[in-house]
Amino acid sequence: MSNFAYFPHTDDDIREMLDRIGVGSVDDLYGDVPADFMYRGDFGLPDAMSEQQVREFFEKLDSKDSKLKVFAGAGAYDHYTPAVIPYIVSRSEFLTAYTPYQAEISQGTLRYIFEYQSMMCILTGMDAGNASLYDGPTAAAEAARMALSCTKHKTRILISRTLLPNVIDVIETYSGYHGIQLGYISEDKGQTSLSSLNSELSKGDVAGIIVPGINKYGVIEDLSGYADAVHDEKGVMIEYCDPSSLAVIKTPGDWNADIAVGDGQSLGIPLCFGGPYVGFMTCKKEYVRKMPGRVVGETRDSDGKRCFVLTLQAREQHIRREKATSNICSNESLMALFVTVYLSLMGKEGMKRVNDLSYGKAHRLYSGLLETGLFSDVFHRPFLNEFTLESKIPANELQRKLMDAGFFAAIEVGEGLVSFCVTEKRTEEEIDALLKTVKEVRL
């Protein structure tokens, strides 16, 4: 056996252990594996690296990535991460713990999940939530399936064309295999069309609809009348929302939605090339038992002390197997902790401040871009920190020029349409530098 820092066995240990087992060598323990399956090569691996070599290997890779100032969103938002969060989240009692099935030695994990569920309900205006899901798009796909079980005997889900494209992709993939029929609600000048919704609803068999709170253009959608329309057809309304924005814009609860889903990444989680993030799901109380995923609840121990446990497990795969509400048997627990610490630090006032700062800076860039004469606003709708303009410069050329100047901006979101996003993290100097670069692009 090799001598390696992670493996504690000495040669003497191995010999003593083999003696007790009653075999002559470690390979004898594989006597039941057909000999031709025992692999004799090097598994295509290089020589083992030392810790320093590994560090240098990744530092070199890291240096090959361009360090860009992010002026883009589209489902991943560059908000500031307070120093406290990585400090707490990297504590090994949290980091190296297993799923909290043994409640007696997992009260740390269980309590923060309970706080997380509470905070997500406060933000979304809903009654109950689960312990988190993989990411926003998969949470939306799970919600589609949940809508079917909330309504019984219906097969169709309507999704808005203004949802982020990756959300639509994942819903389509999941639904296609699961046998959910999808219908589409078209868009009208940058917003989900209520008349298209009504005409799709009139075709019947609609279990639920999925509409965004803030859509792929950054437009804050006016969802008045949507819940009534879908409830009249005995379906449920699912809102896909950006949780950070819910501190200042109407919540799924305000719109009378039944299920809220989205990605918690905007609550201070680093971009990290797309993951790990954290999907969330909250709902009205009547649908709690239809939810996928883990749920933490409060109870008492045998001495009467307040404590927390995983609960409502009769929905889950390890009990129900093929009858479970979903195959999900984990959550993004550590990222839920991330979000919980973020929301604790930011609190009531900080969440308003972060949105105010982003709003002001995004509108500054918006005005500046319009002033260049190279862009026009085709929607004229309210937005928070992300907006879409029609660009006279071809989208890919604009993106490349901005990248050369050190910015990631101008994601193409439609024919001739580009989106920008500005969070509180961007400075006025950076905004002005971006505008200067745009002005230098020759048509």
């Binding site: 992670y6 493996f7 066995h9 191995i14 007790r20 009653g22 323990l29 594989y30 039941d32 691996l45 020589d47 990744f58 890779l61 990535d65 860009l68 991943a76 406290v84 090994s92 949290f94 190296t96 007696e104 309970f114 706080e115 509470s118 993989y134 990411d135 998969t138 994942v170 200042v248 090339f273 797309g274 790990p276 709690v288 883990r294 109870t299 045998s302 002390k305 307040r306 404590c307 795969q317 390890h318 129900r320 093929e322 999900i328 984990s330 993004e332 550590l334 902790l337 609190g347 009531k348 006032e349 900080g350 401040r353 972060v354 709003y359 002001g360 509108h363 309210p382 990248m403 990631f408």
Partner: protein, 501 residues
């Protein structure tokens, strides 16, 4: 561990803040959002200072057990040591700052991580290529089954709607199959605990999409008939799915691809040392054989002819898109670092030492705990409760005494400073205790676990009442789970916010 009873909401006091952000200058704020779109009152989040937050979560952490605290003999969970260098690498500021939609040319370092990890995992498992979209093992299963269905669809073979699952399988297998729109057909185990080949044969026809197998299975037994099973399933046009939850004993020893498996997932948070994080984030990359590469989900990283890396974002043969961006990149970094540290020298010890540890525990405890399946195990094995559980029939002089259960044994282990094993799974036995030690536990740790298990066996005979009330030394005693489910309280409530489910 000491009991700490606060929730962050209970520390809140009006006017306190825990953030540090500049004041808003003059100009527009979110107050300018039209009234019909605006939230009417601010969210009632806690108002706490930064020291409050740090102390609160530090106190919470001290009620938690982790791999860094002690030994987890947790079957099918592979709770190995989580190397610290991996954390530093995943937290390098450059990687952390990458937006997932940045142009390919600006993320060549990140893309080379996908490419390098794909190559390494493929070589270790005998697969052709991997997708990194799935964020967990169960997510990998679902993705793998999507690939399986897509493969059959592309060949115009539309009637394959069944998937065969052994009765010893993890619960996620049947749940994933149903999520993917497949019907589950259960094949039973034989007396040895292996898939019963004679029961399998009549199930095989042209409606079978494939079989999901765990090898070694959840009893820790190598499915030694796998060659025959592969030939039978392939013979009827079906595919073989490998549940990678139990890959660890084969790490550096044998490759699922060589055994006839077509699709598999790998739990990076098990076999490849990334932390479990209290339930996630993990990653469940899915590998496929050569014939299935076109069906892999998008986006997918490829190496261009000029040596640069690019991303395929759509492909008509692809099974689809299974997560928002490119999977859990931060977890992939950790796993890749682990593989590079293993290298060709250390990889060959990993599975072998895990199997050594498991067999050593099994042989050391089989005089106290019922061993329903004897002989060699791989990385894990299952006891079926205590040999003498302390139960006594009623006599004229005394009442009947009920036996100590597996739950009691598990809870008592917490008092001895160990995590509990996986219990009541697999469901083939009534008192299952499933033990998996992993290769990163020393002989001393394992010996002390064995001693504790033997002491508990003695206590079952001499002091069963104390066992039934265990644990005694943890921050809380046994929780009332029935009450939690009957009257769910799922959010923090004060008088005014009370929501009863």
């Amino acid at each position: 561990m000491k009991y700490y009873d606060k929730l962050i909401f209970e520390l809140s006091k009006k006017g306190r803040i825990g953030f540090s952000l500049p004041e808003c200058k003059e100009g527009e704020t979110s107050d300018s959002i039209p009234g019909n779109l605006k939230r009417q009152s601010p969210p009632d989040l806690p108002q706490v200072s930064e020291p409050d937050v740090v102390r609160h979560y530090t106190n919470l952490s001290q009620m938690n057990f982790g791999v860094d605290t002690g030994f987890y003999p947790l079957g099918s969970c592979t709770m190995k040591y989580n190397p610290k260098i991996n954390e530093e690498i995943a937290n390098m500021p450059g990687f952390q700052a990458l937006h997932p939609l940045q142009p390919d040319s600006s993320v060549q370092g990140a893309l080379s991580v996908y490419y390098g990890l794909d190559k390494a995992l493929s070589a270790i498992t005998g697969m052709e290529h991997f997708t990194f979209g799935p964020c967990a093992g169960a997510h990998g299963e679902l993705t793998g089954l999507m690939i399986m269905r897509k493969y059959h669809f592309l060949r115009g073979d539309m009637k394959r709607t069944k998937v065969i699952v052994p009765d010893s399988a993890h619960g996620t297998n049947p749940a994933s199959a149903v999520s993917c729109g497949l019907d589950v057909v259960v094949v039973k185990s034989d007396a040895e605990g292996l898939v019963d080949v004679d029961s399998l044969k009549p199930l095989l026809d042209d409606t079978v999409a494939g079989i999901m197998m765990t090898n070694p299975n959840t009893l820790g037994l190598f499915e030694k008939n796998i060659k025959e099973i592969a030939a039978l399933v392939h013979g009827c046009g079906g595919l073989l799915y490998y549940d990678g939850a139990n890959l660890n004993p084969l790490l550096g020893v044998a490759r699922p691809g060589d055994m006839g498996f077509d699709i598999m997932h790998v739990n990076l948070h098990k076999t490849f040392s990334t932390p479990h994080g209290g339930g996630g984030p993990g990653a469940g990359p899915v590998g496929v054989s050569k014939e299935l590469v076109d069906c892999l989900p998008v986006p997918r990283v490829v190496r261009n002819d000029d040596g640069t890396y690019g991303i395929i974002r759509s492909d008509k043969n692809s099974a689809g898109t299974v997560s928002g961006f490119m999977g859990n990149f931060g977890i992939l970094l950790r796993a890749y670092a682990y593989i590079l540290m293993l290298g060709k020298q250390n990889v060959k010890s990993a599975g072998r030492l895990a199997v050594l540890n498991a067999n050593y525990i099994k042989e050391s405890l089989k005089d106290c705990y019922k061993l329903p399946i004897t002989g060699l195990c791989k990385h894990e094995f299952v006891f079926d409760g205590l040999i003498d559980d302390g139960s006594r029939d009623a006599t004229p002089d005394s009442e009947e005494i009920k036996g100590v259960t597996t739950l009691d044994v598990a809870k008592r282990l917490l008092d001895y400073g160990f995590h509990a094993p996986t219990i009541y799974f697999p469901m083939l036995f009534h008192q299952s205790i499933m033990i998996e030690p992993t290769e990163t536990e020393s002989k001393e740790t394992i010996d002390s676990f064995i001693t504790a298990m033997k002491k508990i066996a003695e206590e079952a005979k001499n002091d069963p009442d104390s066992l039934r009330k265990a644990p005694h030394l943890t921050p809380i005693k046994r929780p009332d789970e029935t009450a939690a489910a009957r009257n769910p309280v799922l959010t923090f409530m004060d008088e005014k916010n009370a929501v009863r489910i």
